[in-house]
Structure formats: structure tokens, C-alpha cells
Amino acid sequence: MSNPTELKNWYAGKFKKFEESLNGESMLSIHETRKAALEKFLELKFPTLKDEAWKYTNITPLFAHKFEDILTVKPSIKGVDAEKYLFDKKEFYTIVFINGVYVPELSDEVNEPGITLCNLKTALTKYTEDVSLHIAKFAKIENSIFTALSTAYINDGVFLKVKSGNTLSKPVQVLYVNSGGDNLLIQPRNLFIIGKNAQAKVVESYYAEGESIYFTNVVTESYVDQNGVFEHIKIQEESEKAFHISITEIDVEKQSKYSSYNINFGGELVRNDLNARFNGEYGHVTLNGLYLTQGIQHVDNQTLIEHAVPNCESHEMYKGVLDDQSRGVFNGKVYVKKDAQKTNAFQENKNVMLSDFARVDAKPQLEIYADDVKCSHGATVGRLSEEALFYLRARGIGQELAKTMIINAFANDAVHSISIDEVRRRIEDRVAVKLDKQKNEND
């Protein structure tokens, strides 16, 4: 067990070694960004329960481990069958990482007119200008110690840029598979830039083989320019002993549309921060989420939607199904600034508890400084409706199946609007499998 300061020094202490591993690349301007972030990282404190944003999530378990950055330990990527996690290869572009290490053999690098898709490390040297124009601009290091940590070690991840007027012909699947090696610190860094009138779909997925303990600290920055459309699905199925901390920054311009589906099945301590900002009028943001937890899993979802300009619309729907001693946290904030008239913002968080020892903490918040708005939020916590169960049972459906049906229907609300059929089906299957597993364990 180490204390927060020790841990900070531990992570910061690896910076020298990281620098050396970069060879000549430390000459790039991005390295200045890294250095500034490292300084910020040392300055900031790890959050405690006394911080309002971390009131329900205790990160002390993190201090029990000294995670090794993959850059300094060079983990093995052998013996991992990443392909089984891939969607139909013909229908998707793929970018694959095993234990945080880029696997070119399984990945597509796209460099067509109007579209650039590759791993970030390649982009850093090949498309330096594009990257440095946007990276670390949306995710501000002063906002979170985890953003600072990620930024200090910016190395690899995904880079996607769709130039004005182009549409990505296939969705992208970004796959992070983690296996074997305990104690790894994996810091994927994703940057998605959707140009004017451009369209793209990305599925970011995290899987694990085995029950290893590691720490994923991911920062994703999305920028959707005027009239752009971006659908972003994140499926998190890390090891049930893993730490997963994820920060997603979203900036949308005039008349653009962004939808996020934040699906969580795995991880022991999971924290997702999604911050969306409207920079232009008539923007549209959807943030949906689903968390199915069991054992001693702890999933914390934080969303912030900043309505800074008039005439924008946001929809949020987070659903949770909690079993065993797991905990779910939802903290959603809708912030409507003074001039953001004609804002429509709707937020919902619903939770179903399946065991006597699960716990839910919900904090839906509205902070509104404009008068001509329609904003609402709702939160519910409860167990499966006895009436619905009775209805199904009266029609000859067995108790267990009836339960599964209701939960499936409940969970479906958050994912049914995913436009990629295969992905939606995959998620629905996972929900069913996970519920089955829960059921069997309960028997």
C-alpha cells in the first residue's frame, strides 16, 4: 500500500524512461504539452470523497498498486486471440491494441482523400499538424488529475479525421484487449475529428482475457464541426479486477449531432466522465448509458452537458441493473448558461436493484440561468416491478424468463437507438449472457 503522494511520484518518476523510449520524437511540439501536463499532474491532488464530484467513489484501492506504464515494461502481445472480439471484418475498419500495444497486422490504416484513420503514434509523426492542432485542446489538464496523467504520457491510441463533406464508409471498431500481465498501466488516447458536413461512427471497445489487475486510464476527445454527425459507442468489458477511468470530452459546433452510448459490463472500479459542450446553435447531443454490475463492481458515470448557446437540444438516458454488492453512481449535470434560450434538455437515470446489498447513488442536477427553456430530469431506483412480473407469469412465462425479459426491455431503452445493427445485437446478447450468469450464480 502506498499513499497518494508516493503514487504520484511513482507515476511521475517514469517520465524520464518514457522520454528515452520516444527516441527522436521528443523533439515534437507535443512533448511540450506532455511536460506541462506532468507538471500539472504533480500539482493536482488525487480526489477524495470530500470532492463533490467524487463523493460516492473512493479511489483508495488505486493506491494499493504500483502500475507500470506499458511503455516502460513492454508487455507481451502473444497468445491473445483478439480476433474473436472483432465485429465483421468486412463491415468495419479496425484498429487493434493488445495490452495497449498497437497491432498493425489486425488493423486498417486508412489514408484516402478526406479520411485519415490510424493509430495515434503514427499520426503524431505523419500528421503532426492535424494532431497538434486538436490534441489536449478539449481535455484540459487542469480539470482532472487523470487527464493530466494521460496527457503527460500521450503515446498511442486512435486518430480519426474525417474532412469536410466526407462520410466514413464503414464504422470503425477500436479494440483494446488486455490480458495476462498484471499491474499494467494502459493509457489509450483517442482523438476524433469530424469535419463540416462529415459523418462517422466509431465503436470503442475494451475487453479482457483473464482476471488480471490493471489500470486503464483513457482520454477521448471528440470534435464535431458544423453539420457533422458522429455516433460514438463505447463498450467496456474489462477484467472484473481492473480499474477503468475514462474521460470523454465532446465539442459540437452549429447544427451538428453527437450521440454517445456508454455501455459498461466490466471493471471493478469504473469511472466515466463525459463532458459535452455546445459551441454553436441548433446542436444535438444524446448521451445514453447502460451499466450491468455484479460482485463488488463499482461503476460511476458522470455527465456534464453545457448549453452555452441557444436552441440546442440534449437527451440523456442512463440505465443501471445492479446485483450482489455492486454499486452504481450517476451524476448528471445540465448547465444552461445565461444566453442559452430555447434550450431543451432532458435527463433520465433509472436503476433496478436485484440484490439486497446493491447500492445506488444518483445525483441528477439542473443548473439553469436562462428562462425560456424546457429542462427536466428524473431519477428512479427500485426493484423489478411486481406487476410486470405477474403479468408475464399469468401468461405462462416462467419466473426467470419473465425477469430476464423485463430487464432486457429495461436495458433496451438505452441502446435501441444505436444505428449499427451488429453492435446493438452484440450488446443485447451480452446483456442476456450477463443476466444469465447472474441468474445461475443466484441459483
Binding site: 446493491a358 427536466s376 430530469h377 431506483v381
Partner: protein
């Protein structure tokens, strides 16, 4: 916004605070400042027993170690606790036996406030305890209540005459170390009301206290303790006003309610402290801790509040539902205008089995004000079949104000059903149009819509208060159109 609307809003902001007079009463006031000697002097002045003084000093010593909370969504310059006088009483004979002995000036003041003690005694059937600055000046109907075994008196009297009850319950719901202002109050509280309803007694009339801050530079720290023993019932009303002054005055009260088996306590507040002028100068800082303990089975505590005054309101009337089948309710209308700030709401802590709570909160913000609902619903590990329903609506009038909702839901039992709903909107143009069409002026239409919006809460108020609340609301929002 059209010109007429602007004019109307101006009219509204120019609305005078009609309770802002100062009464010229010779008063006995402590020099500003706070230290152990002041507390000793205060305690001596009130001829308190030794244990009370010890209790105060303990609270004071704890307070010194505490820090002023910074988390509420309000801003104000730091309060200088040394600039406040902690005791101010109308100069009088040491003890009052009947209304005739009360200083006529004080009575006149209460008359102006519309609480003619004499008249109410005869007509309304409301027993009144009036607290002027810090000291309770008159309690009506005491004898009649006494016949039923109900104790309704000032806190200082209770300390002297019913020390066993006070000792047992004082601080049992809000411990002196609970929070910064509760600790301060515990150290320096000067008076307040005390009610004890014995077993099986239903209090036949509404009990009422009127608080008034009169003297300058004084803080009002009253302490109210209401106990309803098994099968008891009491309904209690509280009203507040203060004169217009440029400087801010502090009001830090503590209210404790205890409901034993099958008992019910209903507590209603119409808070109309001086809210400051239209530029936000002056006004009362209303930092209050109110908490009810549903100790027994089947007990019920109900809070109803209409908050229209105060420069800053910071209060969360709460219910601790520890008895099985107990019920907690919170109904609130909070109106803020000009530069007022309100951060108010409730806490419902479910501990016992089959406990229920209902929260209905209506916020109305106008002018440059900020109105925040902050509430906690906590379902404990053993709270089987707990049920909560919360509804928080905010209405915005004008585009310079803010309305915020910060609910906290902490659920640790799956059998619980917890629902929270909140909406924020302005008065719909179509609603106004509809009423205009039927010949109502825009002003009347707004008043009608707002009243309808608050109806759910007003219905919970006792009759006299409901009338007053409706009047207050129409005065504070007269002429405003969203």
C-alpha cells in the same frame, strides 16, 4: 422582452417591504462581540441553571473549531461574528404574567404585523408565542392549553420549569456539533418556543410563533423544540419579519421536532424576513437548521414552508424516519426576487421499515435572483420497503435569474422505490394567451398561473396562513411576466 413587460418587472422590483418599520422600544442589548464571557452573561441574564451554561459553553468551544460551510450555492461577504450583538430584549419587568404587562410599543408592532395577540386570542383560536428580537414577549392561551397538559411556553421558561424535558430532548435531533450554525445557535440561543404534547392529546388549536428582529446589529438565534408524545398531535406555525436596514442581519435558528409512537407534528413556516432592497443591499441571512425525528412507529412529521423573504436563505428542514411505518413530508414554495439567493430543500433519511416520504418543492425565481433546490433522500441498509417521491419544479421569470436543482439519491436497499422528477420552465406564452383571451390582464394571468403552480403546497398550510401566503406571493411577483 416588450416594454410593458420591462415596466411591469420594474414595478415589481420597486415593491416596498411593508413590514420594514422599526419599533421604538427601549431595549436591553449586549455590546457586539462573542466570547465565553458573553455566553456566561447571557446565561446569567436568563437565570439559567448551571447545566445549561455548560451545554452552551461546550457548543461554543466546538464551534470555534469548526469552519463556515462553503458548499451552498450562494455568495455573500463573510459574516463577522464579533460585530453581532447576541442579546437584545425589550426592557421590561423580569417576568410577564399577562399581555397587559407587555410594552405597548411591542404590542403595537405586532398589531402592525397583523398578529393582534388580543384579537387572535378571542377570535382565531390560535395560541401565539411572540418573539421580539431575542426574547419571547407574550404567550397566549397558555392556561387553556395547560388544562390538557400541553406545555407551550418560551424556551427560557421551559429550561427553568421543565428542565427534565429540555435536558432529555434538547440537542437530541440537532446535536450542538451538527453544523457550523447549529453549534453557534446552541452556544448563544436566546429564546424560542417549547411545546410538549403529552400522550394521547390532540392539540385543539394551531400553535404559533411570530419572530421579529427589531434592534440593529443583532442576530436572532432562536431555538424551538417540539415534542409530541405517543398519539399526540400538534400543528405549529411560524412567521417572521424584520425592519428594513442597510446592513445584513443574521438569523441562525435551530428547530427540533420529536414525534413518538403514532404521534404527528405539522410545522408550517411563512418566512418573510426583509430581503434587502432592489440592489441587494441589506436583508437577513437566514441560516437555519430544522430537523424532525420520527422516533416512534407510525409517526409523522410534515414540513410546509413558504419562503419569500431573506437576502440569503440556507435551510433544509429534514426528517429522520427511524420509527417503522413513519412518514416524512416536505412541501415548499420558495420565491426569490431581485438579488435574493435561496439554497433550500430537504433531507429524508429512511432508517425504519416501511417508511415513506414525499417532497414537493416549487421554486420561483425572478429578477437577478438564484433559487436552488438541494435535497437528499437516503435509504439505509435496513429500510425495507421504503418509498420516496420527489417533485421539484422551477419557474423562471425574466432572463437574469437562475434556477437549480441538486438532488442526491442514496439508495442501499433494493426494496426501496425512489422517484425524483424535476422540471424547469417559464410561464408559457400560450397559458398567458389563454387567460388574456378570457379577459384577464397579463398581470392577473401570471398571478393566477403562479398560484395554481403553488397550489399543491398552499393546500398543506393551515387556513390563515394559506391566505397570507397567497397574498405574499401575489405581492412579491406582482406585474412580472416571463
Amino acid at each position: 422582452m416588450s416594454n410593458t413587460e420591462i415596466n411591469e418587472i420594474e414595478e415589481l422590483t420597486n415593491q416596498e417591504y411593508k413590514w420594514g418599520f422599526v419599533t421604538d422600544v427601549d431595549s436591553d442589548t449586549f455590546k457586539p462581540g462573542l466570547n465565553e464571557d458573553v455566553i456566561r452573561a447571557l446565561s446569567a441574564k436568563k437565570e439559567e441553571p448551571e447545566w445549561m451554561l455548560e451545554w452552551r459553553l461546550k457548543a461554543y468551544r466546538h464551534w470555534l473549531k469548526m469552519e463556515e460551510p462553503k458548499w451552498p450555492n450562494v455568495t455573500y461577504p463573510e459574516v463577522d461574528f464579533q460585530a453581532i450583538s447576541y442579546y437584545s430584549a425589550p426592557k421590561q419587568k423580569p417576568k410577564l404574567n399577562s399581555l397587559d404587562e407587555v410594552d405597548p410599543e411591542v404590542l403595537k408592532a405586532f398589531d402592525k404585523l397583523g398578529i393582534p395577540l388580543e384579537e387572535q386570542k378571542a377570535l382565531a383560536g390560535v395560541a401565539v408565542d411572540a418573539v421580539f428580537d431575542s426574547v419571547s414577549v407574550a404567550t397566549t392561551y397558555k392556561e387553556k392549553l395547560g388544562q390538557l397538559g400541553i406545555i407551550f411556553c418560551s424556551m427560557s421558561e421551559a429550561i427553568k420549569e421543565h428542565p427534565e424535558l429540555v435536558k432529555k430532548y434538547l440537542g437530541s435531533v440537532v446535536p450542538p456539533s451538527d453544523n457550523y450554525y447549529a453549534a453557534l445557535n446552541s452556544a448563544v440561543f436566546s429564546d424560542g418556543s417549547f411545546v410538549y404534547v403529552p400522550k394521547g392529546v390532540r392539540c385543539p388549536m394551531e400553535l404559533s410563533t411570530y419572530f421579529r428582529i427589531n434592534a440593529a446589529n443583532t442576530g436572532q438565534f432562536e431555538r424551538t423544540l417540539i415534542i409530541a408524545d405517543d398519539y399526540g398531535y400538534v400543528s405549529y406555525l411560524e412567521g417572521c419579519t424584520a425592519p428594513k436596514r442597510d446592513e445584513n442581519q443574521l438569523h441562525a435558528a435551530v428547530v427540533e421536532l420529536v414525534a413518538m409512537d403514532n404521534a404527528q407534528v405539522k410545522y408550517s413556516t411563512v418566512q418573510n424576513w426583509y430581503a434587502g432592497d432592489k440592489d441587494g443591499n441589506g436583508g437577513i441571512y437566514n441560516f437555519v437548521t430544522k430537523r424532525g425525528m420520527c422516533k416512534g412507529v407510525n409517526s409523522k412529521i410534515s414540513w410546509t414552508q413558504v419562503e419569500t423573504g431573506s437576502a440569503i436563505t440556507w435551510k433544509y428542514p429534514s426528517c429522520v424516519l427511524s420509527g417503522d411505518n413513519s412518514i416524512g413530508e416536505f412541501y415548499s414554495v420558495a420565491v426569490t426576487n431581485n438579488y435574493q439567493q435561496a439554497d433550500t430543500g430537504t433531507k429524508m433519511v429512511h432508517i425504519g421499515k416501511n417508511t415513506k416520504s414525499t417532497i414537493v418543492s416549487k421554486g420561483i425565481s425572478a429578477g437577478f435572483s438564484n433559487n436552488t433546490y438541494r435535497g437528499l433522500v437516503r435509504i439505509g441498509r435496513k429500510a425495507l420497503n421504503a418509498r420516496n417521491y420527489s417533485q421539484c419544479d422551477s419557474l423562471l421569470i425574466g432572463d437574469k435569474c437562475g434556477a437549480h436543482t441538486f438532488p442526491y439519491l442514496e439508495v442501499s436497499h433494493p426494496s426501496a422505490t425512489v422517484e425524483h422528477e424535476a422540471t424547469t420552465s417559464k410561464i408559457g406564452a400560450d397559458q398567458i394567451f389563454y387567460l388574456n383571451q378570457r379577459g384577464l390582464s397579463t398581470e392577473d394571468a401570471v398571478s393566477m398561473i403562479v398560484n395554481g403552480y403553488c397550489k399543491e403546497v398552499f393546500n398543506e398550510l393551515p387556513m390563515e396562513f394559506a391566505v397570507e401566503a397567497t397574498k405574499l406571493l401575489s405581492i412579491s411577483l406582482e406585474g412580472s411576466v416571463g
